[in-house]
Symmetry: C2
Amino acid sequence: MNTGDIAHLMDTDGVTALGDYSAVVPVSPIAVVSPRNHADCVAIVQWANREGVSLVCRAGGTGTTGGALPITANTVVVTMRHMNRVIAMDESAATITVEPGVILAHIHDYVEGVGLFYPPDPASLAICTIGGNVMENAGGPRALKYGVTRNYVLGLKGVWGSGESFAYGGQCRKNVAGYDMIGLLTGSEGTLGIITEITLALRPKPRVIREMIVGYASSDDAVAALRNGMQQGVMPSTAEFMVDDCVAASLAYLGVSALFERHPAYVIWQVDGFTEADVEAQLARIVASSNYAGCMPMDTPERSEHVWSIRRSVSLGFTKMAGKKYSEDIVVPVSQLSATMLALADLAHESGIRVVGYGHLGDGNIHVNILKMGASDADWDRYAPDVVTSVMALAMRYGGSLSGEHGIGVTKKPYMGMQFTSNDLRVFAGIKSVVDPQGIMNPHKAIYDNDYKLR
Amino acid sequence: MNTGDIAHLMDTDGVTALGDYSAVVPVSPIAVVSPRNHADCVAIVQWANREGVSLVCRAGGTGTTGGALPITANTVVVTMRHMNRVIAMDESAATITVEPGVILAHIHDYVEGVGLFYPPDPASLAICTIGGNVMENAGGPRALKYGVTRNYVLGLKGVWGSGESFAYGGQCRKNVAGYDMIGLLTGSEGTLGIITEITLALRPKPRVIREMIVGYASSDDAVAALRNGMQQGVMPSTAEFMVDDCVAASLAYLGVSALFERHPAYVIWQVDGFTEADVEAQLARIVASSNYAGCMPMDTPERSEHVWSIRRSVSLGFTKMAGKKYSEDIVVPVSQLSATMLALADLAHESGIRVVGYGHLGDGNIHVNILKMGASDADWDRYAPDVVTSVMALAMRYGGSLSGEHGIGVTKKPYMGMQFTSNDLRVFAGIKSVVDPQGIMNPHKAIYDNDYKLR
């Protein structure tokens, strides 16, 4: 390999582990490069086009679908670990401009220091980067009130797979000139180009936050609370949904007892706003707006940490309980959430495999855990993939989508033909060809898969 | 022309006037067709491809940049006047699904009847349609708090210019599978295909709204109020900005006197929310957060209507005062708003032409009026186009965009090369080719113009 004019960007220390949070086994890259700036990224992409090498960008490495892993031969990994500067904050415009390698939590802290707020809050916020957030269009619990990453990206600079630079948008909060290239890039999972600079819109930081965990006899009652509350003017910032199996698994993992009464289902309600009385009135209204079985205000640091530690430990709890599991993040219309939860439970397999869901009530985003439980290793290997396929088919049946926030990456490619027509997949491939004619950017990810039979 | 299988869709009554709110002179179409449903639209597009005919969609006809007008020979106008049904509302999912010809105000009334809320509110809301809103990515005063049309479009069905049908998204509030085709279509100004069904996300209807008009000694003080207020936790729903010239022109047009003290600049602040005390506290906080010269609460129907009638009449007032005018809708970062306002005034031409701006403070979207005033007819025709070009150049200088909400259409095509590189324009054209290979959808609009010298 002739590294030519990018020889000085070769990264021989620091990046040895190239995994992520998926079960995908990466192929060893032929090299790792660490650009320092936009010009370096342009040089890398132009070099890759000349040499016929594929590029895979990575930053935090917290992906759950293998999107940032090299999976083909002759691939160079581009790590963003040196592009981690805050470039500028503009308090009057309420914007911040950053490089893609900045850790999300750092952005949160930075802007909250001056009373501003960047809402997206994926669970990995302490270690994931804003570049990865943009590439996956990351969400998080606060998406219910505040929307996802796409709603906050005002400007993107970078380089297309073709080697041409781009700079779309900037600090303007409205912009309808030309096609929406920022929307196209956000959520494109690294398949179109490399992002080198990101400008984000900020909002006022909420002055007051109040939380409560409420138990329900059924998920129907939880959905009714959200519907009735919203129709009475309440906009919760967060509505995290768990069934009691989730709580049981978490408690066992944590080795603690619940401080709240146990019920079949729960919602962790959070309301934020300007004045205490207003926020408390909203929280009281949404709780009172449907039948509930019990509730515990999360009004002390101990109670709040207790509940959130249970919510955070659900996935680890299931792993410990089940031995092995797959995690998916389908999304369905909120009105189909109860039916979907029941149908998921029905996917339990005679081999012992069980299926349980939890997640973001307000946007119907269900984290589906497929649990090995009593199944033998042989049965798990044999039947689990079919159960995953059934989960995806179920999302389709209820008018849903394969992914709410984790992306398609490698692991969900086989199901793309369930959600999209063959023409849709041709359109995706055609758009990629316009900006990445040699197909060097993150090949065989996200947008299509020839192995799956198209409808 | 062989109308073949779309003969029954020919519309010979009802559509005689095909203008809009721009000064563009349309070319007479060879026919007008009125589809009733998705299948009709597919038939029309497939017929147009076979016959080599161009298609221009129109609905409300309220565009200001000529985007929905036929401008080339051999064009058929597709009117959405019969596709105006509300298909479904889902209160649990908080979504509404409509055909593109539904009037925006009808959607507002429909969803507010059950306590829900569709925020985008362009000035033409009583007569514009949701299909046009999606095609232009319409905004409005409430965009400051609530965002623009794109933030609410969850699902789109339609037909690409190729004749292939599509159905992206649906009722899900998150969705990251595949490229963001909904984002690409929203704001595409009818250049990619025909939309036949739209699903919108809804929010809780605010229970309380409070408004106040505040006078400032300068636009700097107004910008400071927004910045300081947001950093103290206030999120206004609306912040409409006017200089005193706007108020003077409106008052003269309306033939009334101001109920409020006159000052160099004004902001109409609006805050909405759940409880009266909270909303009033937010409004008081943002007013107190910077130097202000005077204020009048809009606390009676008379006062509110007085102020809003002045705001609504600014454009008509300038037309009456100036004789002729051009209206543009540039957008700049909020931090550049004061400098932009000063620079706009400096564009006044020795011939007598004057330039004045007003608009949406919170998102830097300035409605720039270029006024004939003392200029002779000959000087107006000779110099006004150069002044418009200078306005666009000024937007670029301050990091802005050619359009915040009106789109590019026909009238702003000549300036696209100021904001985009030649490669950007090739990418736009390439993307259009993927879904509209024969280029039949709204040709020569919105995305590129070969006449303008590219940077």
